[in-house]
Amino acid sequence: MFGRTVSYGLFWDFAACEAVSEDQRWILSTMHKHGQELITLLWRILGNEQDVCDAYQDTFLQLAHYDRGQRPEHVKAYIFRTANNVAISMLRRRIAQRKRMSAAIATGKNAAEWRSGEYRPVAGSPAKELDSKYLQESLRRYIAQLPEHLRNVITLRDLAELSYAQIGRILGISAATARVYRCKALQLLTMWMGKEEEK
């Protein structure tokens, strides 16, 4: 009796699962339609292939589990916002991890140099300033520090290369507001990068 109930239950679960899957074919269509744009956005935010794949997977997993497998009203808006948030979270984690590692390395190195009597504080070199990788990383770091509303606009406009009208639709704001937010974001980035240079 109990075994039969379990088997009926399993059969019911399987049937429900199949029904949901049939309904979720739109996920594959979405992947086909917006996959390339999403990859470009994630690549530009993260700059690391494994991280891009992970963020992409997380985005579509969240889409598949959105409101018990229901399709969001604006799929494009949902996936772009989700991908943006996932990527920024990953970026922040990476930055924090790197900071911890470099602090640990510096502490170990300084301690060793201190012991040998060769300790000198590290100064920023001009060659480092011109290094494209360094510039990219510092911009990514500052983008991750921006307030959410400004960050969303700058990533969608400058990294995903969407129009202001599209950004407005995705974020639920007007195109003019998106322009203003981008301008503010650029001012903040400029200020932070300028301060970094002064240091």
Binding site: S29, R44, S132, T190
Partner: protein, 192 residues
């Protein structure tokens, strides 16, 4: 007084820089070249920037952000990144979705350049060719129509000359009726 002026100029430049950056996101000179209102101020602006360390720093910082964004944009990724990402994402979806025909396609998909990018390289040559064809058509129509007008006018003038000299009958014989022109000898003005 000089300090106040300098501060005002600084403020104006700051506003223009933000404006130019937000509109064009290029060097401010690009904005000034496009905006005639700003063009007039370009000289004193350049002089000011040359002497104001604060504005110089701001300009350098804007340039740096611009450079960093361009560097990020120009960084290419592997061609199979989309394929890998799709395969990984499909791997965590439900079984029936994984087995779908579309999923198989997505696992092997490669990024395709947009139509605009694909045909972008032919854009200038196509535009040149279109311009050439347009000019040729215009020339053809213009040339032939003006030739026709010239011929008609010339015949009219010669016939008029003959009419005034040798009379209407003889002129009709010289100029056949198939190219009959509406020349009225009474109204015609005799040529000198």
């Amino acid at each position: 007084m000089t300090g106040i002026n300098k501060n005002n100029k600084c403020r104006r430049i700051r506003g223009w820089l933000s404006d130019a950056i937000s509109r064009h996101f290029g060097p401010p000179t690009a904005g000034f070249n496009r905006n005639p209102a700003l063009l007039g101020d370009a000289n004193w602006l350049q002089k000011h920037i040359a002497n104001c360390p604060r504005c110089q720093r701001r300009l350098v910082s804007y340039g740096k952000v611009n450079l960093a964004i361009s560097a990020i944009k120009s960084q290419p990724h592997k061609l199979d990144l989309l394929m890998c990402a799709n395969a990984q994402a499909i791997g965590v979806l439900k079984h029936s979705l994984r087995r779908a025909q579309k999923a198989r396609k997505l696992r092997t998909i490669r990024p395709e350049p947009k139509l605009r990018e694909r045909f972008g390289k032919y854009a200038s040559s196509t535009a040149n060719m279109a311009a050439c064809i347009a000019i040729m058509l215009l020339m053809k129509f213009g040339f032939f129509s003006s030739m026709d007008t010239f011929e008609t006018q010339g015949q009219k003038v010669i016939k008029q000359y003959y009419v005034s000299r040798v009379g209407n009958d003889l002129a009709d014989e010289i100029f056949p009726t198939d190219t009959k022109l509406s020349v009225n000898p009474k109204n015609s003005v005799p040529l000198q």
